[in-house]
């Protein structure tokens, strides 16, 4: 550093502007990050994802390079006005093969470019979506993923079925006037259950409101769900909160709060506290595509990055925010590209592929805990049901679109095919399970009346 200073003093005599010259690496950061995404789809290890700080430049001192730069600088054909005798450097290594020159600004060193180049508002290609199973339930050729054992896979499938049936029956119960309000997670069962399976019970959940599957996985009983919806005396909230606003201390599940996205900066706060405890656990905060428009989304992600808070942000991009489609919600390529804007590592996954979600969350969780920094996961899916019982979505979207996602793109069907092919699940068990769950849910709904 001292050597540089003395050299630059000499240089200063020759030049009007006082500028230090630091060469920069020739990689354009945007290219580099795309390579990471593409590799992941085909890669055999998760190693490429973790660790590398793509921003650390290789700073090296090269005397001859500096002198030739000076010579170029000194050409009389250029303007001699102060401040404009700056050696301009292109962003890519097309024109000059020598060192790039840069300036120290608050926030770090930036290299110069003589080309006025605007970063396009849209990349040539959308960020690809990680998936592992095809629509038929076959693992896609070339994909590598952590194998899920039979016990976990069967539990996952059973939980998805339970969630689906629970949603159907509670929705009907609201229509019958038994409860005042309900909100289904239909179409997003894979996101719910696979995420829950990939986490541990120590991970703290700050949900939005379409994640009851996490509670289900962690052991919240159907009776407890019914009690909360009825607001009876056995409800842990003692009838003080609206239906579907579940919460449970012992399951590490923060009570659902109605205002949208408030849980995101709160998650950064919880994570900061968790970090001080040095636990082998992270905070998992959910939001939908609509919630990313709230100011709290910006505050939450920005500060999680600045504070190195171990938060795993999961955005359930299901295409609809009540009646607002994502084309009216944002103009960016979904939510995954917003991660880089905050300095947060992010990935896009097929939310209807339970195995892909499971693998992604496992990997993301490892990163969050071991590197103590936030990660953003965008799970693409479709909201098959209405926004809630106060909504009729056929008023603003075509019925055949809903039907298509309900049948052809059903996450349960896809996962069932895979489990079935492995010989872990039979059709008899299927009908037995469905019948049993239906009976149980109805029983617990009736039982809830006793505690009113």
């Amino acid at each position: 550093m001292a050597i540089w200073l003395s050299r630059s003093k000499k240089i200063a005599h020759l030049l009007k502007p006082k500028i230090a010259y630091f060469p920069q690496p020739k990689i354009a950061p945007s290219e580099f990050s795309y390579k990471i995404y593409e590799n992941h789809v085909n890669s055999s290890s998760f190693g490429t994802l973790s660790g590398e700080n793509i921003r650390s430049p290789h700073v090296f001192l090269d005397n001859s390079a500096t002198m030739s730069a000076l010579n170029r600088q000194w050409r009389r054909t250029e303007s001699t006005r102060a401040g404009e005798q700056v050696e301009t450097v292109p962003y890519s290594d097309d024109n000059y093969e020598d060192e790039n020159q840069a300036l120290d600004f608050p926030g770090g060193r930036v290299s110069f470019t003589h080309e006025m180049k605007f970063i396009s508002e849209a990349a040539d290609k959308r960020i690809p979506c990680y998936r592992v199973l095809s629509d038929d339930g076959y693992p896609i050729a070339g994909s590598r993923f952590e194998q899920v054992d039979k016990e976990t896979a069967v539990k996952m499938y059973k939980s998805m079925v339970t969630l689906q049936i629970m949603d159907n029956i509670f929705y009907e119960a609201q229509r019958q006037g038994r409860i005042s309000f309900y909100l289904t997670s239909t179409g997003e069962e894979a996101i719910n259950i696979a995420t829950a399976a990939a986490l541990t019970s120590d991970d703290v959940i700050l949900p939005q409101y379409r994640e009851p599957g996490i509670l289900l996985w962690r052991g919240f009983t159907l009776q407890e769900f019914a009690n909360q919806c009825f607001g009876n005396s056995a409800d842990y909230g003692k009838g003080k909160q609206m239906p579907i606003h579940y919460g449970s201390n012992k399951h590490n599940f923060f009570t659902i709060s109605s205002p949208i996205a408030t849980q995101l900066p709160q998650a950064a706060g919880v994570a900061y506290s968790l970090k001080m405890d040095k636990k082998e656990a992270c905070v998992v905060a959910f939001t939908g595509d609509g919630g990313t428009s709230e100011g709290d989304f910006h505050a939450g992600l920005n500060f999680a990055a600045v504070m190195d808070a171990p938060v795993l942000f999961i955005c359930r991009n299901n295409g609809w925010a009540i009646s607002t489609p994502i084309s009216e919600q944002f103009r960016s390529d979904g939510v995954v590209v917003k991660g880089q804007a905050y300095g947060i590592r992010s990935i896009r996954v097929d939310g209807n592929d339970a195995l892909a979600v499971y693998n992604t969350i496992r990997a993301a969780r490892e990163m969050v805990i071991h590197e103590q920094k936030p990660v953003l996961v965008e799970a693409l899916s479709y909201r098959v049901g209405h926004h809630s019982t106060s909504d009729d979505s056929t008023k603003y979207r075509p019925v055949d679109e809903i039907e298509h996602w309900k049948t052809a793109r059903n996450p349960l069907a896809r996962f069932r095919k895979w489990v079935h092919k492995n010989g872990w699940w039979t059709d008899d068990e299927e009908s037995e399970l469905r019948g049993s769950i239906r009976k149980q849910v109805k029983y617990f709904i009736n039982a809830a009346y006793f505690f009113l």
Binding site: G237, K240, A261, T324, Y396
Partner: protein, 371 residues
């Protein structure tokens, strides 16, 4: 009737063609004998429609106001009629679209910002208070913010604490804002039109449970130039024994209580405040000077509530006229519970108002005596 309309038209500066159209409407209507009824929802919808049609600078912005026809169907048909430039569906960001609205108002447009409930206005309150409310004063009149913030306020049915708070007292304490709380369809129409035409920021507190209620409306109310003055309360029912003030949904409860009291020989004067800020101190005090007793009724939390302000105002202006302590009926001092039985006791009911009026008239022992 026509004279009143003429005067109202004059003070609002309505262009002549509306006035003439209005006269024709009135002339035809005054010949019909059946009283027309209108729900509060229709009243608000028609008020928005007429104001948007009269002034191209008026536009509506909020969540679900366009394609969905409004979360409570208040803006039904408006997107179809005025197009997406005048009826804007927004992403979920109250802070965002409120800020955008305030900016539009700074530059001369007249936005009507809809909050799905006023509980969500909390996410935008900096824009409402620090930008909209204070700008006119801080710029010595150079900046004018002709914006209306509207939406349902107070308790609905079974929606829990985060959807049920009444914000009348919060907004009512802030200089620079006008705060209105309509009750009937006539109130809704007249006050919303006045709010949209007003050059200052207006917080318009509706009530979800009143949207479907029907009220008879006069021909004058149906006229497109109809407009109620801001800052004037209405005496819904004249009486001589006790004054009961209320606003929004509680006016309905108070009128029912007045019927019950009348059977027991107590003649209650019911005042529909209509305007929380500015508060019509003159009407309230004149009424108290006549009856000598006061009961204030509100849905919101008791501490620092509207009733507290009315009580202080009456003490300041009409202390010698009071024959009994002022009774204050308010919601329970807890976040609104969800369960139906708990919610019923957290919100004032007709019996509570009746009991308070009787205590005020010394027809039953006061709370202090029984304690």
């Amino acid at each position: 009737m026509l004279g009143v309309i003429r005067q109202r038209v004059a003070c609002r500066g309505i262009p002549t063609r509306n006035f003439e159209r209005g006269i024709r409407v009135v002339a035809s209507r005054s010949l019909s004998s059946t009283a027309k009824e209108m729900t509060v929802r229709e009243a608000l919808n028609s008020a928005l429609d007429e104001e948007m049609s009269a002034d191209p600078k008026v536009f509506l912005m909020g969540e679900e106001v366009g394609e969905y026809q409004g979360a409570y169907k208040i803006s039904k048909g408006l997107l179809e009629k005025y197009g997406p430039d005048r009826v804007l569906d927004t992403p979920i960001t109250e802070a965002g679209f409120t800020g955008i609205g305030v900016g539009a108002a700074y530059y001369g447009l007249k936005p009507v910002i809809e909050f799905m409930t006023f509980n969500f206005s909390m996410q935008a309150i900096d824009h409402i208070i620090n930008s909209a409310a204070k700008s006119n004063y801080m710029s010595a009149g150079q900046i004018s913010v002709p914006i209306v913030f509207r939406g349902p306020n107070g308790a609905a049915a079974g929606v829990g604490a985060q959807h049920s708070q009444c914000y009348a007292a919060w907004y009512g304490s802030c200089p620079g804002l006008k705060v209105l709380a309509p009750y009937s369809s006539e109130d809704a129409r007249g006050l919303l039109k006045a709010a949209i035409r007003d050059p200052d920021p207006v917080v318009f507190l509706e009530n979800e449970l009143l949207y479907g209620e029907s009220f008879p409306v006069s021909a004058e109310t149906l006229d497109s130039s109809f407009c109620l003055p801001i800052g004037k309360a209405k005496v819904e029912r004249a009486g001589k024994d006790v004054t009961i003030t209320a606003f929004s949904k509680m006016v309905g409860y108070t009128l029912q209580a007045a019927d019950i009291l009348a059977k027991e020989g107590i003649s209650a004067e019911v005042i529909n405040l209509r305007s929380i800020r500015p508060l019509d101190r003159a009407t309230i005090n004149a009424s108290v000077r006549k009856t000598n007793r006061l009961v204030t009724v509100e849905e919101g939390f008791p501490q620092h509530g509207v009733g507290a302000e009315i009580c202080a105002s009456v003490l300041e202006d009409s202390f010698e006229y009071l024959d009994a302590p002022v009774e204050r009926i308010a919601g329970a001092d807890v976040p609104m519970p969800y369960a139906a039985n708990l919610e019923r006791i957290a919100v004032p009911q007709v019996e509570d108002i009746v009991r308070a009026a009787k205590r005020s008239c010394y027809r039953s022992s006061s709370l202090a005596a029984t304690a």
